[in-house]
């Protein structure tokens, strides 16, 4: 460990004197490669830089705009109202799904977190090309900072969601809160992994930021938030189609979030949280079977993706300075 820490560790006064005289060979650090090679681990070793980068992003993102931070909420709010009126009122899910607004918003909060991480993370290396080209630091820092900035913007949305739930008579339960935590973890890990991978790919071909924009439009329709999950088995039957649908970690994360916030506000939380009856999807159950098993498997899968993304990133990173 000391191998990588050599040049970046915080110094004590004694070290500074050692530098000044160079005679105190006892305190000299060992010979080590000047470029960082610890990947994500280095990012967390240098938390102070990460903290400043995150703060910089937050401060700089909306400078010079009158509404400032509010812009983080205008877009989700408009999208929420649009879905609420078109799908809730026009299509009629408001009558068929209890508290459809909360059902929708619980999904949107986490999906917004994901898409923000994904798209801002993908652009992060190219946007910081001035630093990447000229200063030695773990480049994983930038996608990770994007993920943390997105998380920072998600907090107020979570608060709004929780307040709305309380006003609707929310009965939080331990299992539900665990489900929410699991859902958030899946999104955080998967978002970081994809941000890492696509930020590196974007250096070589800027097409990738457009690919990401296309993928994120698809995301909203591939998860059960603008329609209840019961629609999937009732339309496609309870079988392979549902299994394939649930292979999507985002769909699983949204269901976990709904298990956390939404089921507790319905008139009969126990029934809503129960497994869908395949013969009668309108019987009251809204959750798939093995919700937690699937969730944990998705989290494990996301961690594997993260490891793969790190390996790819490290390989591509060598060419960053010349391709930016």
């Amino acid at each position: 460990m000391s191998l990588h820490l050599g040049r970046n560790r915080p110094r004590t006064d004694a070290d500074a004197k050692g530098t000044a005289t160079a005679a105190a060979a006892a305190t000299t650090p060992p010979l080590s490669p000047p470029s960082s090679s610890g990947g994500l681990l280095d990012v967390f070793r240098r938390r102070y830089v990460l903290k400043l980068l995150v703060r910089r992003e937050i401060a700089a993102r909306y400078q010079g705009s009158v509404l400032g931070m509010l812009w983080s909420y205008v877009q989700p709010l408009v999208r929420f109202l649009m879905y609420y009126f078109v799908l809730g009122e026009l299509i009629g899910f408001n009558r068929r799904v209890e508290y459809f607004g909360i059902h929708l918003f619980a999904g949107m909060v986490i999906i917004h977190y994901f898409t923000e991480t994904f798209s801002a993370g993908t652009r992060s290396i190219v946007r910081n090309s001035a630093i990447v080209k000229k200063m030695a630091m773990p480049r994983e820092m930038f996608p990770v900072a994007s993920m943390l900035v997105s998380a920072y913007h998600t907090i107020p949305q979570m608060v709004i969601l929780a307040v709305a739930c309380v006003l609707a008579g929310w009965q939080p339960d331990g299992v539900g809160l665990l489900a929410g935590l699991l859902g958030m973890s899946i999104i955080a890990v998967l978002g970081t992994a994809l941000a890492l991978f696509f930020s590196a790919a974007n250096v070589f071909f800027r097409d990738f930021s457009n690919i990401v924009a296309t993928l994120t439009t698809f995301v909203h329709f591939s998860v059960p938030m603008i329609y209840p999950f019961t629609r999937v088995p009732s339309r496609f039957g309870d079988g392979a189609a549902v299994e394939i649908y649930l292979l999507n970690p985002l769909a699983e994360a949204v269901l976990l979030m709904q298990r956390c916030f939404w089921t507790g506000v319905t008139s009969d939380p126990a029934t809503t949280a129960s497994v869908i009856n395949p013969d009668n999807v309108d019987a009251g159950g809204h959750m798939p079977d093995y919700l937690f098993t699937r969730g944990l498997a998705q989290l494990a899968f996301s961690l594997v993706v993260l490891v793969i993304a790190q390996v790819v990133f490290t390989r591509l990173e060598n060419k960053f300075p010349e391709r930016l």
Binding site: R7, A25, T28, M135
Partner: protein
Amino acid sequence: MTQSIVCNGVTKNFTMRYHRTIKQMSVAKLRRQKLGEDFLAVDDVSFSVEQGEAIGLMGLNGSGKSTLLKVINGVMRPDSGSVLTRGRIAGLIATGAGFHPQLTGRDNVFLNAAILGMSERETNAKFGDIVEFADIGKFLDTPVGHYSSGMFARLGFAVAVHTDSDIFLVDEVLAVGDRPFKRKCMARMEEIRRTGRTLFYVSHAPGSVRKMCDRVLVLEKGKLAFDGPVDDGIKFLHYDDSDEDDVNSEDVDDDLGADI
């Protein structure tokens, strides 16, 4: 003596791509043009530097000096061979690169220092010196995007020279500063040298290399062509051929103007 920088067979290869879109690439394929070309920027360079040595790195434009500096700095990794360094590296290379135009000078100083490896406490302790050296006065709390190029560069230099480092790299970047500031930088470099830190100095100016360095490396088309005493190195490069010999080297640098 302890070794400070050890380069062993360092090679850095660049791939130049001529075509970036599918259309251009397929047209090029049809015409049987090359899609890209390899280019050895640094070719099998080996040397070792002792702690406290002052090295002048010289060579014509395009000989690979900056690439070698980036490899030592850790921005690039060598494709083959290895680079080992001891201790923290700072320098007048890419100064101000980490600056964010929308943040104030103060915020940028902290961020830049952190990237260079300084802790919050260290930066706080040096902050006064940095501000005094940069001499940007009341502009400290305005966004650096509004700075003049000289102010921007001065602030970047100020952070770099106040970073506690064991190895100090200097690229030929002093051109932006005004004269008093250049003087200040040179004085600071002398001081760094005196304190026993390793100095690695890229320059075209024989005068300042003579003044600062006790060993010269010359790169030629990516290969290490010369490694030895300063005067021999300058002779090797034929930088002493012209009438510069008769003139006081200090004046030559002044005539050359920009590149200290």
